[in-house]
Amino acid sequence: MESLTNKKKVLEAKPLNFWERAYLPAIAQGLSITIKHFFKKPVTIRYPEEKREFSENYRGLHSLKRDEEGRERCTACGLCALSCPAEAITMIAGERQPGEEKLYREEKYAAVYEINMLRCIFCGLCEEACPKEAIYLDGDIVPSDFLRKDFIYGKDKLVEAPLNQ
């Protein structure tokens, strides 16, 4: 067939010459290549002690943000849950009572907010959907655990630490 890419190369199977058929020179060559690698620096990153540098827009663990005054931004609109292709997010909304203005920014807030980290595919769509800039995937890798139930992260793990007074 006519080559469309200009990369076509016709290879001929040449009969091996004596030294090629003798195997040993080729094996010696191979050995010399591997021994060079013996003295090279290993490329391994020793994970728990050492960490690979994440890129700027790496999508890690979610965190629920607070605003400048330390109030939770999330208003439990459910858009994140709706946009989530993996259906990893569930929440129960609560109404802000008088006197809780310091805790929640909006009148409606998420009383329960859970993300199942085993379902989540870290696509970042929740982050994009949120009208309140309340959720960001700016955390670390999800740590390992033994039980499935421990991978359902509630507000205790998701919400940012309160601002220092």
Binding site: I27, G30, T34, I35, H37, F38, K40, K41, P42, R46
Partner: protein
């Protein structure tokens, strides 16, 4: 026989046995480390500093594993297989001269368990017995993959034993003796009468044939077809679990150790090292340094085994047979003829 001699031999046997087992244990660790380094990795590094205790952890794991004996297997033979493999691997070390004589007080201690005058033949015999362990294990498993692996091992060993034996004949024409101690002593020092004393410089072709056959005899890559994972699941030890599997794997490493020792003794001067008698050291010190020299050579060969394993892929089975029958055997015969001619001319 006096009691002291029995005691002395007993201690020597115990030490050699211990050393072979420890070397085999640490070969498993070394294999993983060498593989890792050759592939720019780190290798096991969790158990102790640099993963030094990894072999112990592996051993403990092997013992803890569930012992499965398939119901369709032939019970007794299934157990005999690995036992025979490890037994034959261990008894090969009896005739290897680990060093010269050590003098303690008035006692002269021979650092060799026994200097029988058919040393090489003994090693050959033991090595050929080794294939029974594999053969019986593969047969008793009653599994087609195991059986195929066992058949491969048997036919491979038989084919390469011929070339190995022929390459040894050329060596024996020069040494005139079968005793490993005498062969080692003939290679005294490093240089005399205008030529190297080590046999590798007098038998280069013979050595190449021997080392290729040694790879095949120990079932090491590129000749590890008996346990070829891509075709045979696990080869002859597919059905084995727990320490029985451990014994098979262990036997391979002990075999590697013994064949390294044999190669070092036959071709690389055994316990001899350059200038051993020009340094003005006491006899005992020279002996001890000789033992160290032998072990350095052995470790080098073990490293070489691993180095080759992680460099080249395994042969196809017909290529393996081609190489054995059509290349190595004619070459070995030619080597005998050449050796005869040269020995007559340069007598």
């Amino acid at each position: 026989m006096e009691l002291a001699l029995v005691l002395e031999k007993f201690i020597l046997v115990a030490i050699i046995f211990g050393i072979s087992l420890v070397t085999a244990m640490y070969s498993t660790y070394a294999e993983r480390k060498v593989a890792a380094f050759l592939q720019d990795r780190v290798g096991p590094n969790r158990a102790g500093p640099f993963g030094i205790f990894q072999p112990m952890a592996d051993g403990a794991k092997m013992f803890m594993k569930e012992e499965i004996i398939p119901t369709q297997s032939s019970g007794l033979l299934f157990i005999v297989g690995p036992s025979l493999a490890i037994l034959t691997a261990c008894i090969g070390s009896a005739v290897i001269p680990w060093g010269q004589k050590l003098t303690i007080g008035s006692r002269v201690i021979d650092l060799q368990v026994t200097d029988i005058n058919v040393g090489i033949l003994y090693i050959f015999g033991v090595v050929s017995l080794g294939v029974y362990g594999i053969m019986i294990g593969g047969w008793a498993s009653n599994n087609k993959y195991s059986l195929l692996g066992a058949i491969r091992a048997a036919s491979q060993n038989i084919s390469y034993e011929i070339a190995m034996g022929l390459s040894i004949i050329a060596l024996l024409m020069l040494t005139g003796t079968l005793s490993l101690r005498q062969i080692a002593e003939q290679q005294h020092g490093f240089w005399s009468n205008g030529w190297f004393t080590w046999n590798v410089f007098r038998q280069p072709l013979g050595f190449i044939i021997f080392i290729i056959c040694a790879f095949a005899e120990t079932n090491r890559s590129p000749f590890d077809l008996p346990e070829c994972e891509t075709e045979l699941v696990g080869g002859y030890h597919t059905e084995y679990s727990s320490m029985k599997l451990g014994f098979y794997l262990f036997a391979e490493y002990i075999n590697m150790f013994i064949s390294s020792a044999v190669m070092a003794t036959l071709y690389f001067g055994g316990f001899n090292f350059p200038f051993m008698h020009h340094l003005g050291l006491s006899e005992n010190l020279v002996t001890i340094l000789g033992v160290v020299a032998l072990f350095i050579k052995i470790i080098f060969f073990i490293f070489f085994f691993m180095w080759v394993r992680w460099t080249i892929p395994r042969f196809r089975y017909d290529q393996l047979m081609d190489l054995g029958w059509k290349v190595l055997i004619p070459l070995a015969i030619a080597n005998i003829v050449l050796t005869g001619v040269f020995a007559t001319i340069f007598k």
